[in-house]
Amino acid sequence: MATEVKVGQDERKIVQELVQNHGNKKAELIPILQEINREVGYISDEAIKELSEKMSIPSSHIYSVATFYRMLSTEPRGRHVIQFCESAPCHVAGGRQVWQTLKRELGLLNGETSQDNKWTLITTSCLGVCGVGPVMIIDEDIYGNVTPDQVPGILENYE
């Protein structure tokens, strides 16, 4: 599922709604950040500023939390995010070759977004489906038992 990047006004409204629904206690910070990440695609400076005001938390704290957790991004991401499991069980099951193929097909290194903004390629830590490794997630679709020759076909499914 691709996310549309909403800018400026929209972000402030999203933040306001989230704080209203979750409350403004510090313990709600991470759930709120997760929702912003999901709706906007990443956590922008605008969002951090608005959140800081609404929750009375210093923006430096919010920034330190947002950059600590892997699933939260402070950089814009592509329309489709590919997360490839880089952990040992997938690696041992043939993950290395799949990873090489992915990087080659997309022309991207780990963490990069393509010029046309279509793809972001990142590695993820263990997703807990090691029985079917190698594993990768594109947006919210999980692919298991991936082999290098399957990669081009899988990528073709996404606009």
């Binding site: 939260l72 997938c90 080659r104 830590s125 263990c126 807990g128 090691c130």
Partner: protein, 594 residues
């Protein structure tokens, strides 16, 4: 009043009805009347028993507990005759075990004893009544009506249950500490941040039997004197989050959570909090920081969470699997649990097998079983019947154990003595095609990435180790690297603030000890014996076998292969990126890795 000798429960959920469940019921009634059995056998409706996709219209017969599936109208007379007149199970209509295809969990293998995994895959997760039907919440009822908190704690102590998250601390003792602690409010926390690569037992329990965890937590809360609990579940497990939330809501509706549980006067409620992608949040103090809305950074102990935990209040943290054992311990008794296992490790443990083993997936076995039995008897041996090389136990903080340790009985103490840990129960099996230096580097990469950065030995020490290992794998190793690695391992282990740092050197330490020859080959001979490290291997086409079919040249992504049709081809080592595609494709096995 009529006493029936048998009950038939016909599954009448929407999908079964669409497949003709009501017609089946009518046919059953008619046949029973015809055979004069209508006063002896009662036909009832029930909710979903099996997955309608797999079992069609199905029914259960009690007291024998036989599950008949995929029934058609024509089958009914035969079924009634066989089962109720002749008193025999009508085998042709019974569900066969093999039909259930689950890549992560097979039907129980020999040597398995499923306690925590008992209900997983066998009940409807989204229906609390299924759990209750299997004695669910009976333990809670017993505890609230017949036992004091102190008696509850004593039972758990007597069972010998130890923390299944890896540390192995006696659970009863933990509960005793928090019971005796002073604070405004006490918290029960469940650590569902299963981050160990290769471990997914917690995930399956949360997705397949969440109520066992919830019931365990409520019982613990009663024992501890706690009124509020949290399940901290990693965000990478969205299904588990969903099953947990549904289960909690259903438990509330049934009066099993919330105010005045089962009319006992005891109140306790539960909430799910999600992680956001940080392995270190599996560490208990980091976990609590995360719940509080901060960076997941551990802090020194003492004070321990039982004294000052979440928001400085007494808190008890246990793993998913630990809580999941509690209901059965209460129901079946401490002696039952303690009768299984080995020495000081009582009960069973789940193990997740991954890597080069034939049957990857989840198993649950009593402590004391050997590694050899797990890998060969339950795991089916090495994939493609290759040779076993090593097994890494307990997650990224565990050591790699070679063949000499295969007869090690699995328990907390034995593994620690061997230089590894039991940890979460993850087992990564490696065959002869694995380079142990590369594996050590690989685990260090993971730990380096996940280090929270707070303390110097871990933050900088793991980076230095990673740099050295990377150099070695690239053919730039130096003799002084080995003593330096040993020194770093010692320093990081002794001076790190939390378990992540302390355990981070274990893969390196254990591979240095058991596979020193591989390190030496990389450093002195600049070769990789397992032919994995790309900088140290060469792909070569064998003259005499190559037929010049050009398949490799056409598929080489960097055009490193040249040659004429029907003549031996050649790979240019300067262009070759060692992706391995040519070697995989060659129909004549003419390409060798040197």
């Amino acid at each position: 009043m009529t006493y029936y000798r048998s009950h038939i429960l016909v599954s009448v959920d929407p999908q079964s009805i669409a497949k003709g469940a009501y017609e089946i019921m009518d046919a059953l009634q008619d046949e029973l009347v015809k055979q004069g059995l209508i006063d002896e056998v009662q036909v009832l409706e029930t909710s979903r028993i099996g997955d309608p996709e797999l079992v069609g219209t199905d029914l259960m017969v009690y007291p024998e507990s036989v599950h008949y599936v995929n029934l058609t109208l024509e089958d009914i007379p035969l079924l009634v005759e066989e089962h109720f007149l002749k008193g025999r199970v009508a085998q042709q209509f019974v569900l066969e075990e093999e039909e259930f295809v689950d890549e992560e969990m097979s039907a129980p293998q020999k040597k398995e004893i499923r306690v925590v995994l008992k209900n997983v895959g066998e009940i409807d997760t989204f229906n609390i009544e299924d759990y209750i039907a299997r004695d669910g919440y009976m333990a809670l009822g017993k505890v609230l009506t017949e036992m004091t908190p102190e008696e509850t704690i004593q039972t758990v102590l007597d069972s010998g249950l130890r923390g299944r998250g890896g540390a192995g601390f006696p659970t009863g003792l933990k509960w005793k500490f928090i019971r005796n602690a002073e604070g405004n409010q006490k918290f029960m926390i469940c650590n569902a941040d299963e981050g160990d690569p290769g471990a997914f037992a917690n995930r399956r329990v949360l997705e397949g039997d969440p109520h066992s965890v919830i019931e365990g937590m409520i019982i613990g809360a009663y024992a501890a004197g706690s009124s509020q609990g949290y399940v901290y579940c990693r965000a990478e497990y969205p299904i588990a989050v969903r099953t947990l939330n549904t289960a909690i809501e259903q438990a509330r509706n049934f009066g099993l959570l919330g105010e005045d549980i089962l009319g006992s006067g005891f109140s306790f409620d539960l909430e799910v909090r999600m992680g956001a992608g940080a392995f270190v949040c599996g560490e208990e103090t980091a976990l609590m920081a995360s719940i509080e809305g901060k960076r997941g950074e551990p802090r020194p102990r003492p004070p321990f969470p039982a004294q000052k935990g979440l928001w400085e209040e007494p808190s008890n943290i246990n793993n998913v699997e630990t809580y999941s054992n509690i209901p059965q311990i209460i129901r079946n008794g401490a002696e039952w649990f303690a009768s299984m296992g080995y020495k000081k490790s009582t009960g069973t443990k789940t193990f997740s097998m991954a890597g080069d083993v034939k049957n990857t997936g989840l198993i649950e076995v009593p402590f004391g079983i050997t590694l050899r039995e797990i890998i060969y008897d339950v795991g089916g041996g090495i994939k493609d019947d290759k040779k076993f090389k090593a097994v890494q136990t307990g997650g990224p903080m565990g050591g790699c154990l070679p063949e000499a340790y295969l007869d090690l009985p699995m328990d907390y103490e034995a593994l620690a003595e061997a230089g590894s840990i039991l940890g979460s129960g993850g087992l990564v099996v490696m065959d002869e095609g694995t380079c142990m230096v590369d594996i050590a580097r690989f685990f260090m990469e993971f730990t380096q990435e996940e280090s929270c950065g707070k303390c110097t030995p871990c933050r900088i020490g793991t980076r230095r180790i990673l740099e050295i290992l990377t150099r070695i794998c690239n053919g730039k190793g130096k003799p002084e690297d080995i003593p330096l690695l040993r020194h770093l391992c010692e320093q990081i282990n002794e001076n790190s603030l939390c378990g992540l740092g302390k355990g981070a050197p274990n893969p390196v330490k254990s591979t240095l000890e058991h596979f020193l020859n591989e390190y030496e080959a990389h450093i002195y001979d600049k070769t990789c014996p397992a032919k994995v490290c790309r900088a140290l291997i060469r792909f070569e086409i064998i003259d005499g076998i190559c037929t010049g079919c050009t398949l490799c040249a056409r598929n080489c992504p960097v055009d490193a292969i040249s040659g004429e049709r029907r003549k031996t081809h050649i790979i240019d080592p300067d262009i070759c990126i060692k992706c391995g595609i040519c070697e995989q494709l060659c129909p004549y096995d003419a390409i060798e890795i040197k």
